[in-house]
Amino acid sequence: MSDIAVDKDLIRRVAKNARLSLTEEELEKFVPQIKEVVLDSFNKLDEIDAKEEPSFQPVVVKNRFRKDVPKKSLELEDVFKNASPKLRENNYFKGPKVL
């Protein structure tokens, strides 16, 4: 992937996808740093041929299934224990608008 242009436009776009809005100052700082990591480290894997099966885990992890038995869930007040009172309406969490 040596033909990638890591520039302000790309980083701004990637950051937006990750729900980060960067200031101009942050962009000035991050672009050369990220460029160095991508070009000198990430792209180094271009040198090596790897046809092996990917190791999504470093050890073999088996699928284990459990019985689908309902368990007691959290008490309602516990569910809201970490929520800001400003973001609670009756027994609902209040969130930002989606449309």
Binding site: A15, A18, E36, E52, P58, V59, V61, N82
Partner: protein, 470 residues
């Protein structure tokens, strides 16, 4: 810094005389307070009331001679890395974005330590979400007890710093993704024990990278670290990647060890000298061979940072200012605007960089070239290790290429130079192999760590070997 007896010795004593627990706890609490006054920054969160309640409960166990009284950690104060959830105690992985979050449950390792009679003493400082090698990517930066102008290492910096600082009987639960137990253990003169991936449950860990994270132990010596690992390892149905194995500190024969020559190449000459001297002294006890892991030396860092940032960027996507942690006002705001605002204001620079790097590596069109390729390379690197283990019980080399650096020198490093410091710790972590770092000697006044790596699930070899090394 002068305790020679082991935690096991303390536990035996405590079972006969509860005042031993009281005195030791008072000493540990005093050390927390003094370290806080001196701004040494080992402790992220300490709740004296909660600790005294646990102490009172333990006193009852002493009288009742119950399961906790018979536990492996009876009366032992245990600190917990901030990324590991402790019920009712603020747990924020060193990040501003989780400020105020008090878990409703204990992580499995915390519950297990409690069941063995431990006192959960405090949360220790760390790089935000474990993103770092020097514990400098956070608000409270821990200072090395051997020289306060130097780093404790990271990301479990507070854990190793406090372990070295306090004279009380104490052990620390840390967590390693790419070397976050071994690095601080090396810099602070402690023994860090990172288990095989899956040996210790990750349930209740605020994740960094799911295929790499391992909870482990930091202690004053191999006996203490092993005792803690025994207490927290084992199958847990709440963690789908948990293995069925546990760990018992038992001796097994070790015949052949091999020095990995590639990991000496970029080391500071003083570090090389100390480690070499230690290795020479081991020749009396073992057959010492030499091996090369050229692929790991060349590609492990690249594969690791692609995998780690990719997984981290998906993990951190859930932190958006709703339900827990930092929350703002949502009125009149679109969700894009609200999430971006909370995240941009509360993630630190390194978290932002890693989120961007990881999101980039997973983007449409790039995923196969980066993420999938890195996973294939990981297979190659594991195979290279396995080949070396065919002829050798263990592999050894320096834990870190340098002694704990000064803060002023860390500031000068670019992110890539910073990542390169993980050269020796990343390969074993990427391959999920168990490893121990213990002290090989000192360069000047600063400790130097010796790294030892064993095949998957062969923790006993590390225990047996580290005993001889120490």
């Amino acid at each position: 810094m002068g305790r020679d007896e082991t935690i096991n010795f303390f536990v035996q004593k405590a079972r006969n005389d509860f005042s031993v627990v009281e005195e030791n706890l008072a000493k540990a609490i005093n050390d927390i307070k003094v370290s806080q006054q001196k701004k040494l920054n080992y402790i992220e969160e300490f709740d004296a009331k909660d600790v005294l309640l646990q102490f009172a409960e333990l006193k009852k166990s002493f009288s009742a001679k119950d399961a906790k009284y018979n536990g492996k950690l009876f009366g032992v104060p245990v600190t917990i890395k901030d990324a590991i959830c402790v019920k009712g105690i603020e747990s924020k992985a060193g990040s501003k974005i989780l400020r105020g979050y008090k878990p409703l449950f204990d992580a499995t390792v915390v519950a297990k330590a409690r069941a063995e009679g431990a006192i959960i003493l405090a949360k220790t400082t760390q790089d935000e979400f474990g993103f770092g090698t020097f514990s400098t990517n956070t608000a409270l930066v821990p200072k090395n007890p051997f020289d306060n102008s130097r780093s404790c290492g990271g990301s479990s910096g507070g854990a190793a710093g406090f372990t070295a600082y306090t004279n009380a009987f104490h052990v620390a639960i840390g967590e390693s993704t790419g070397g976050s137990i071994a690095a601080p253990a090396s810099f602070c003169g402690c023994t860090g024990f990172t288990p095989t991936y899956g040996l210790v449950s990750r349930f209740g860990l605020i994740d960094y990278a799911n295929s790499l994270d391992k909870i482990g132990a930091i202690g004053r010596n191999i006996h203490d670290s092993s005792l803690l690992l025994e207490s927290i390892s084992g199958y847990d149905r709440n963690d789908s990647t948990s293995l069925e194995n546990g760990f018992e500190a038992e001796e097994v024969p070790i015949k052949k060890i091999a020095v990995v020559k590639d990991f000496f190449e970029n080391c500071d000459s003083e570090v090389k000298k100390v480690v070499q001297k230690k290795i020479d002294s081991l020749r009396n006890f073992f057959e010492v061979n030499e091996v090369s892991l050229p692929l790991n030396a060349k590609y492990a860092l690249s594969a690791y940072y692609i995998i780690a940032t990719s997984e981290a960027s998906t993990n951190l996507a859930k932190l958006s200012g709703l339900r827990y942690g930092v929350q703002g006002l949502v009125e009149g705001k679109h969700f894009d605007e609200y999430f971006s605002e909370i995240r941009s204001q509360n993630f630190g620079d390194e978290a932002k960089r890693r989120i961007i790097l990881g999101t980039f590596a997973r983007m449409s069109g790039f995923r196969d070239a980066y993420y999938l390729k890195a996973m294939r390379v990981r297979t190659k690197l594991i195979n290279e290790f396995n080949l070396a283990f065919k002829e050798n019980d263990l592999l050894i080399f320096p834990t870190m290429p340098i002694v704990a650096p000064k803060f002023e020198d860390i500031e000068k490093l670019s992110p890539l130079q910073n990542y390169a410091m993980d050269l020796c710790t990343v390969p074993a972590n990427l391959a999920g192999l168990p490893h121990v770092s213990c002290t090989a000697g000192t360069a000047g006044t600063m400790p130097v760590g010796l790294m030892m790596v064993a095949p998957h699930l062969q923790e006993k070899k590390l225990y047996s070997f580290a005993k001889v090394v120490e």
